[in-house]
Amino acid sequence: MRLTNEFEVAAPVERTWPLLLDVPRVAGSLPGARLEPDPAGDSYRGTMKLKLGPVTTEYSGTARLQDVDEDERVASFYVQGREARGQGSAAATIVSRVSADDGHTRVLVETDLEVAGRQAQLGSGLMQDVAGALLAQFAKGLERELTGTPYEAPPAAREALDVGAVAAQAVGERALLVLAGMAAGVLLGRLLWGRR
């Protein structure tokens, strides 16, 4: 699955760019995620529990920063996770590009996502739904983090990221359709930045 997402954050690029690489800050604001540094060195290990109505998936995996281009402000991550129970897996290469736009920041995320196992085989529609809603959450969370508004998870999503509920707070029905989205592996990447 190739997914492209673009969104805008009401903050200047000088503030946004470093945040994109500041793992703990972004990860901390997302319920359902737990992470810790990998003793081996330059990556993080963690778990991510996702919920879409009655459907729940828990992945555990690793993520690392593959490369950073300071000049162009492009960061590329590789994330992979395995289902905690079951044989499914997800892997993603995520390339994020930020650019200045009149005091705002435009963020372009290009994701190459591969999901193996039941989630891909049963109802590909399901993955698209999860992906779409997840990105909406990320955009919201990032914006709040940057503008200083503390992010409060909706009551239904304390222990797991309730993707559907979060989607409700996204930018409206049309936007939901417009955002192609990420999936679990991608969000995992957002959380588990590599150490630079």
């Binding site: 079951g86 591969e114 039941r118």
Partner: protein
């Protein structure tokens, strides 16, 4: 426990040390030295790679759903719980999903005859087309399964399975386990359908057999529907570039075809057979004197393909009939007329590809089909309609079958047949043959099949061969038995055999009649056996369809279908018609909704009935059937095969009707709304 990846190397496989109800976990390590991969059957003159399907993956997996480990537990739910805990180190590799792009050939075949270059040089018109049929899921009502039990003292493995016949399961086990035939007994009870997908031993079946022997306990495997979608071999999955050379008057001079088959990750025993069959039938029903056909079976990271109702013949009918319609349009000739100018009319007829068609009346079939379908073509704003016809010729029969027939003491007849029905109604058909031959009631005939220890040997139930071969064996055995009975009757009536006459009431001479019951009661055990062997016989037919398309939505509706089949002598017309209608339904499914889809990573994306849509009775259009009978000279019944005809003729006829409605623009199935709207806008 199956691979989630379409292509990966396997490192360590770590089984949970304990889990509720867990008995054992088997991987390829445990099978090493105990079992070999499945065998490979190559068609005549085909070249094949030595890449058989292993029972459990060894070092690498080549399709999502491939069995990696067998998790054995006290119950199925507990086995599934434990299977989730098995950890496998996968190193994902780049999957190949497009057959044409694959550089790896699993199978290759080339054939032809006549002077193809001269034919194309002399042609006034060369028509070229590329056509494709996607992969399909067989979707039998009952999924696959097996139970194995091993008696160590007698060194006997007993194997019950949901399969098409006992013989090929037995042959598979003999090969995989390297054991002699006498040490294995295979039982195939009445089975809930197969459509070709249960012909050969499944890898999981082999694992079950080994597990029973290793564990010393009976082992049962009943796959669930998801596993059936992932790992049962699929059908079709072929595309072809076809070139037809014709004169300006529409005489076909030669045909060239390059066929690409998407064979999947391994060569299962019968994977190579359907593409070869397609190639051999590329002259269709037409008197074409030269042909040149190549088949390239490519390896992809998908589950392997194999025979599925039609097994190569629907593909041939599709490729040939589509190019013939394209030729008609280019020549400006009526497609029915173009066919008439080229139909084979003298039999036996040997094609340049090598097969000899035994009998047929192609023109009569074509005329009947056109008459029955009531052609229609209209191009309105709200609705487009079109008509299409398609001829087919198909091979069936061949090899050999056997039957033992016995007269029981109570006057009933017991038939032991080497074929096994799985929905075809052999009980009735074979009983009819025996009842007629021996003058008994249908209810007085019993059929026994499906036990390798009890039934005579044969090839099996596939390729619509059971009536032609199995039925003929029964007919011969019945005749022999009747002769035995005549001998006894002559003795009892104290007359010479020549003076006996045979009638519905029994044997008569000099005013006295002895019914079969009396002969049976006389005490001697009367029985007879026969083995029947023959070359292939060739059934044929013409199908026609009228369709309508709604331009606003792209929705296709098949208004009616005419199915005219020539299966030689029909033993039971009612059963034959049932087979045709069933085949038409599957052929229609292929046209309207069915397609086994994969994403770019080789993940199957239609792995449940929610995504893989089967037609319901509500979608069936009226189907007019008719039968032409050109008896085959090659067997005593004159029978050919009818089981797959509906699936063979329907897709080609509907495709031609769709192209007709679209004003000559052809589309490959399934004819989804998106596809049709795209053509129209």
């Amino acid at each position: 426990m199956r691979s989630p990846h379409a292509h990966a190397r396997i490192g360590a496989v770590r089984a949970p040390r304990e889990a509720p109800g867990l008995v054992a976990v088997l991987t390829s390590d445990e099978l090493d030295g105990r079992a070999r991969p499945l065998p490979i059957q190559l068609p005549h003159r085909a070249e094949g790679a030595a890449e058989p399907h292993p029972l459990l993956a060894t070092g690498e997996v080549r399709y999502a759903g491939q069995p990696v480990a067998a998790v054995l537990a006290e119950t199925r739910p507990l086995a599934e719980d434990a299977a989730e805990l098995v950890e496998v180190e996968y190193e994902p590799l780049e999957p190949v999903v497009d057959a044409r792009a694959s550089e790896h050939e699993l199978m290759r075949w080339e054939g032809g005859g006549g002077d193809i270059d001269a034919a194309f040089a002399a042609a006034d018109l060369v028509v070229r087309g590329s056509y494709a049929l996607p992969r399909l899921v067989a979707a039998p009502m009952e999924t696959r399964g097996a139970i194995a039990s091993y008696d160590g003292e007698r060194d006997l493995l007993t194997f019950w399975c949901s399969a098409q016949d006992t013989h090929r399961q037995l042959a598979g086990l003999i090969h995989v386990l390297e054991r002699p035939a006498e040490s294995i007994r295979v039982l195939v009870p009445d089975v809930g359908g197969a459509f070709g997908s249960k012909g050969v031993l499944a890898p999981e079946g082999g694992v079950v057999a080994v597990a029973a022997m290793v564990l010393g306990r009976p082992v049962k495997w009943a796959e669930d529907r998801l596993e059936n979608f992932l790992a049962a071999y699929q059908g079709r999955g072929v595309e072809a570039d076809v070139e037809l050379a014709l004169t300006g008057e529409g005489r076909m001079l030669g045909i060239r075809a390059h066929i690409y088959a998407d064979l999947g990750g391994y060569l299962m025993p019968t994977t190579a057979i359907p593409p070869h069959t397609t190639a051999m039938l590329m002259c269709g029903c037409y008197d074409i004197s030269s042909a040149d056909v190549r088949v390239s079976g490519r390896r992809t990271n998908k589950v392997p393909t194999g025979p599925y109702r039609g097994a190569g013949r629907p593909e041939a009918a599709y490729f040939v009939e589509r190019v013939v319609d394209d030729a008609a349009r280019e020549l400006g000739v009526d497609p029915v007329e173009l066919r008439r100018r080229n139909l084979i009319s003298e039999f036996p007829h040997r094609t340049p590809l090598g097969w000899t068609y035994d009998s047929g009346d192609y023109e009569l079939c074509l005329d009947e089909a056109v008459r029955l379908v009531e052609p229609e073509r209209e191009a309105g704003d709200e609705l487009l309609s079109g008509t299409g016809v398609a001829m087919y010729v198909e091979r069936s029969g061949g090899l050999a079958e056997s039957a033992d027939v016995a007269l029981e003491p109570d006057g009933r007849i017991l038939i032991r047949s080497s074929t096994s029905p799985h929905g075809q109604g052999h009980d009735t058909t074979f009983a009819q043959i025996a009842a007629e031959g021996l003058g008994v009631e249908l209810d007085d005939v019993a059929l026994q099949f499906g036990d390798s220890a009890a039934v005579p040997s044969g090839a099996g139930t596939f390729a619509s061969r059971s009536v032609a071969m199995g039925g003929s064996a029964v007919a011969l055995a019945v005749e022999k038995l009747r002769n035995e009975c005549a001998r006894v009757a002559a003795r009892l009536l104290e007359v010479p055999e020549e003076d006996l006459s045979w009638g519905p009431a029994g044997f008569s001479a000099g005013g006295r009649t002895l019914p079969l019951r009396a002969i049976a009661a006389a005490g001697s055990a009367l029985k007879a056996s026969a083995r029947f062997e023959s070359d292939l016989v060739f059934a044929s037919g013409a199908y026609a369809a009228v369709v309508e398309i709604e331009p606003a939505t792209g929705r296709l509706r098949v208004r009616r279908i005419a199915a005219v089949d020539d299966a030689g002598t029909l033993v039971n017309p009612l059963l034959a018609e049932g087979q045709v209608i069933g085949g038409v339904a599957q052929g229609l499914g292929e046209c309207l909704t069915e397609e086994a889809t994969y994403d770019e990573h080789g993940q199957p994306t239609s792995a449940s009935f929610a995504d893989y849509s089967l037609l319901t009775a509500a979608e069936m259009p009226p189907v007019a059937t008719a039968f032409v009978e050109s008896p085959s000279p090659l067997n005593p019944l004159g029978a050919k095969g009818i089981g797959e005809a509906g699936a063979i003729g329907t897709p080609a006829a509907v495709a031609n009707a769709v192209a007709d409605a679209l004003g000559g623009r052809g589309v490959d199935p399934p004819f989804t709304e998106e596809k049709l709207r795209e053509v129209l806008t």
